[in-house]
Every structure is written in structure tokens, then in C-alpha cells.
């Protein structure tokens, strides 16, 4: 192992020398190479922020609050008011239906909306390779 280490050290030293030489030769031209790792991580984080994290949305653990007034609604210290809860329970006993109706966010009276899907049709613009 010692031998290998020496070898790799020598190699990296050689690279260092080379890069130093290179840099001094073309000062500024290869600036973009500086801090590549940092730039990459920044770009990655930027992308992470801009796109909603679907994985987390679907598979992430959902924080459930069990403190929706189960206790503290006792009558005479014996009976408990039982009413269908709004939040979590409502969803658990919701209607089993696969429909995904539009939420009305898009107004299909507008010409802009029509334009946003023009290319989905054969009458729209085609890509060059098709």
C-alpha cells in the first residue's frame, strides 16, 4: 500500500504542477474551472428549490396532529362529545372516488389558454425531427 500511496502522491503532485503551469499560461481563460464543485452544488440546490419535491410529497411522512380537541370536551366528566372531525378524520372517511376535476384555475374562455396547448395538436407547430 505504501508504494501505491507514493505513486498516487506523485501523480497528484504532477497534476498540481501541470495545472499550475497551465493556469499561469492562460490566466483567466480557465477561470470557470474554479470551484466547480461548489457551483454544481449550488445549481443542484437551486433546482431542488424550484421544482416541488414530489418524492417528499408522495412518500414523505405527513405530520399528523392528533390534538384536535379529543379531550377537553367532556360533559360532566363522564360523556364525551363525539363529532366528526374536520381535518384528518374527514380525509380518512372521505369519498373513494378517482375523479380529478379541474380546479378552475384556468379560464378556458381566454385566447391565451387556447394558445398554451396549440402544439399538442397535429395542427400546431412540429419539432424539427418529426
Amino acid at each position: 500500500p505504501d508504494k501505491e500511496e507514493n505513486k498516487s502522491n506523485a501523480l497528484s503532485k504532477m497534476e498540481d504542477d501541470e495545472s499550475a503551469e497551465f493556469c499561469s499560461e492562460s490566466e483567466g481563460a480557465l477561470r470557470w474551472k474554479e470551484g466547480l464543485q461548489q457551483k454544481a452544488s449550488e445549481a443542484f440546490l437551486r433546482q431542488q428549490r424550484s421544482t416541488p419535491n414530489l418524492r417528499k410529497l408522495v412518500y414523505g411522512t405527513v405530520a399528523e396532529d392528533d390534538s384536535d380537541g379529543e379531550d377537553g370536551e367532556e360533559l360532566g366528566g363522564l360523556f364525551r362529545v363525539s363529532r366528526p372531525e374536520k381535518g384528518k378524520k374527514h380525509r380518512a372517511d372521505g369519498m373513494d372516488c378517482s375523479r380529478f376535476d379541474p380546479d378552475g384555475a384556468h379560464d378556458w374562455e381566454l385566447e391565451e389558454m387556447f394558445d398554451s396547448i396549440r402544439d399538442c395538436f397535429v395542427t400546431g407547430k412540429w419539432e424539427d425531427d418529426q
Binding site: 414530489l54 375523479r99 376535476d101
Partner: protein
């Protein structure tokens, strides 16, 4: 069969849980079914659904407690064969059929089901919509020779319709990549009316065409007016539209009149326009699978050989998101999801998501060898 069971709370996503339980062989126990409701426990339509599952399987053990708030389900083997079922009219046949589409290819014998009840209602995907969008999707997975036929049409609330569904069995599903939806070449549809003036269907067609003609000239909407004993017990009308692409993707939308005696009546002109707008919204969402069939496609992708399968979807519906969670619970299947933003100069609707998975290596063990 796997010995571990799964526990759930509440009656939501009832069909998904029982269907996945049947396919995976895992027991499932659902507790607190409407336990806080004034009328607790399972409803009639859910009981009807359980009976349907019992008919297509052999050896299924079902236990329900006295109040109906707890259900224990131990799945048996999928047998198939000839089945007749009177679907409870609280929900339409689509409700039952959606689950049957998921199970049908994995039976021992080819399924031939006669389902009676409400064929079209505003809550669930109608039989027409499933026929126009789910059946072509199933064909893509190698399930040829499907038939879904409306023998009698029955509108909500009375029902009285009859549907014939036949499906062959498959040992394994074929490999598909649904990454490119392609461009829409034509729009088809069906406007139906029963126990009202046949003119209603024509009025629906005219108003829907008014909007869709701005995009594409190839539109044909059939009108269907069933009479006599084929017209069910309640009056009503509706429209189902489907956009077909060059790559064989079917995007569908539909509108059904409000059931007699429930809510405001609608004008066919308004309904036609609304349906056309729903179809445009569906095209905006886009992807290779329309929002009504996302769960079916994801299930089929899971139940495949161990190779990579991709599909481009529009925004995931809440029902689909729950399906993904259930697929993880029952099959340990986790999809890779990559959001895809359209570029600025593209006019192809909203954001899409690319779903990737490696099949669970599922084979139909019930299918008899020939």
C-alpha cells in the same frame, strides 16, 4: 401467501386497498370506518363491492363487526369466469368496474362479467369514459380482446343499466414505455340521452364542437339514444369526449346531467361547452395517460417483469398519490418521479412528471397452463 397484514383507518380509498390486497395476497384490516358518523359503518355500495370481489375470487375470508366499522379481509385466489352482479345504485357501475379492470387480467379464467346498475352518474367515471380511455390503455399493456359493452343504459338515481365486460387473462404484461404522448390527431366522443328528447344529444354535440373546432377539424361525436327497455329507469343525458394522439394516447373528459330530483338541472348547451373545456384542461395537463387512468397505469407498471418502465403523466391526482403510497405498502414499489417543465417556446400545456419504476416481477400464478 404472505403472512403479514396491513392496517388502515377509515373508508377512503377502500377499493385500492382491497384490490391491492387481493393482488398481493396480503391481509388487510380496515378500522374506524365512519366511526364518528351519525350512520356508522360500511355503506351498501361498499358491501356490494365486497360481494363482487367475493364472486371473482375463491377462498376469500371477510369479517365485518356488528356495527360495520371494522373490516378484515383475507384475499383468496382470483378465479374469474362468468360473473353476474347487481351493483348497488348508490355508486355507478364505473366504481365497481375500475377495480375490476385492475384485477381482470390476473384471473385464473377469462372474466365475463355482467354488471347491472347505474351506467352514468356525475360522481364516478362512466362506463363510456372507461371504454374510450381505459380499454385502449390496457391494450397497450398487451391485453387484447377486451370488450366493454353497454347493453342497457341506466342513469342515476334509478339505474337499470347493464354492462358486459369480458377480459382475457395474461401471465405477464408486456413492456411499454409511455414517454411520448404524440400530437392529437382527432377528437371522438359520444353524446347520449335516455328518456329525454333525442334532440338533447344533438344540442350537446353542437356546443362542444363550437369550442373544439378552433383546434382541429377532425371531430366526430356519435349520438346515442337508447329506447324502450334499454333506457333504464331514470331520464338523463351526458357527453364523453376523447382526444386521440398519433402515438395512441387517449385523453378523456366527460359531463353527465345531474340525477333527477337532485340539484339544479343543466342545459345541454352549457354542459357541452363545459365538457369541451374539461377536455382542454385534460390536454393541458397532458401526459401519456389521462388523469382518470393514472392509477390503473401505475398498477400495471408495478405488476410487470423486472425491467424498467417509464410513463409521462400530467399532475398527479390525489387518488393517484394515495395509490402510489399503497403500492409502496403492498408491493414495496417506489416510483422515481422527475418533474419536467416545458420549455418557453413550447405550447404544450403545464408541467409533467416522468414516472419510472422497475417492475415487481409479478406473474399471474392463477392462470392455468395450456
Amino acid at each position: 401467501m404472505a403472512s403479514q397484514g396491513l392496517n388502515y383507518d377509515g373508508c377512503n380509498f377502500f377499493r385500492q386497498r382491497l384490490v391491492l390486497s387481493t393482488l398481493s395476497g396480503k391481509r388487510v384490516k380496515i378500522t374506524n370506518i365512519r366511526s364518528k358518523d351519525d350512520n356508522p359503518g360500511l355503506r351498501d355500495f361498499e358491501a356490494s363491492f365486497i360481494r363482487l370481489l367475493d364472486k371473482v375470487t375463491n377462498g376469500t375470508r371477510i369479517e365485518i363487526n356488528q356495527t360495520g366499522t371494522v373490516l378484515f379481509y383475507q384475499p383468496g385466489l382470483l378465479i374469474g369466469g362468468e360473473v353476474e352482479h347487481d351493483c348497488n345504485t348508490q355508486r355507478s357501475v364505473g366504481f365497481y368496474l375500475e377495480a375490476l379492470l385492475m384485477l381482470a387480467p390476473f384471473m385464473k379464467m377469462p372474466l365475463k362479467a355482467v354488471l347491472r346498475g347505474v351506467t352514468n352518474d356525475p360522481t364516478d367515471p362512466s362506463v363510456d369514459q372507461l371504454k374510450y380511455s381505459a380499454v385502449p390503455l390496457m391494450r397497450k399493456f398487451g391485453i387484447d380482446g377486451l370488450e366493454l359493452k353497454i347493453v342497457k343504459r341506466g342513469m342515476a338515481p334509478g339505474g337499470g343499466g347493464e354492462v358486459l365486460f369480458t377480459c382475457p387473462v395474461r401471465k405477464t404484461l408486456v413492456s411499454v414505455n409511455l414517454t411520448d404522448p404524440g400530437k392529437i390527431k382527432r377528437i371522438r366522443g359520444i353524446a347520449y340521452s335516455v328518456r329525454v328528447s333525442p334532440q338533447m344529444a344533438n344540442r350537446l354535440v353542437d356546443s362542444a364542437r363550437g369550442i373544439l373546432n378552433k383546434f382541429i377539424p377532425d371531430i366526430y361525436i356519435y349520438t346515442d339514444h337508447m329506447k324502450g327497455d334499454k333506457s333504464g329507469k331514470s331520464p338523463g343525458f351526458g357527453l364523453t369526449l376523447v382526444a386521440e394522439t398519433l402515438n395512441g394516447t387517449f385523453l378523456s373528459a366527460e359531463q353527465v346531467s345531474t340525477p333527477q330530483g337532485q340539484g339544479e338541472p343543466v342545459l345541454p348547451e352549457d354542459m357541452g361547452r363545459n365538457c369541451a373545456k374539461h377536455l382542454l384542461e385534460e390536454i393541458y395537463r397532458g401526459g401519456s395517460i389521462d388523469s382518470a387512468n393514472q392509477s390503473l397505469a401505475l398498477l400495471y407498471m408495478t405488476l410487470r417483469q423486472q425491467d424498467v418502465c417509464k410513463a409521462l403523466l400530467g399532475p398527479l391526482s390525489p387518488y393517484t398519490i394515495e395509490m402510489l403510497r399503497h403500492l409502496r405498502d403492498f408491493f414495496q414499489m417506489v416510483f422515481k418521479m422527475e418533474p419536467q417543465k416545458p420549455s418557453d417556446d413550447e405550447r404544450k400545456g403545464g408541467d409533467k412528471v416522468m414516472m419510472t419504476c422497475v417492475g415487481a416481477g409479478f406473474t399471474n400464478i392463477s392462470k392455468s397452463l395450456k
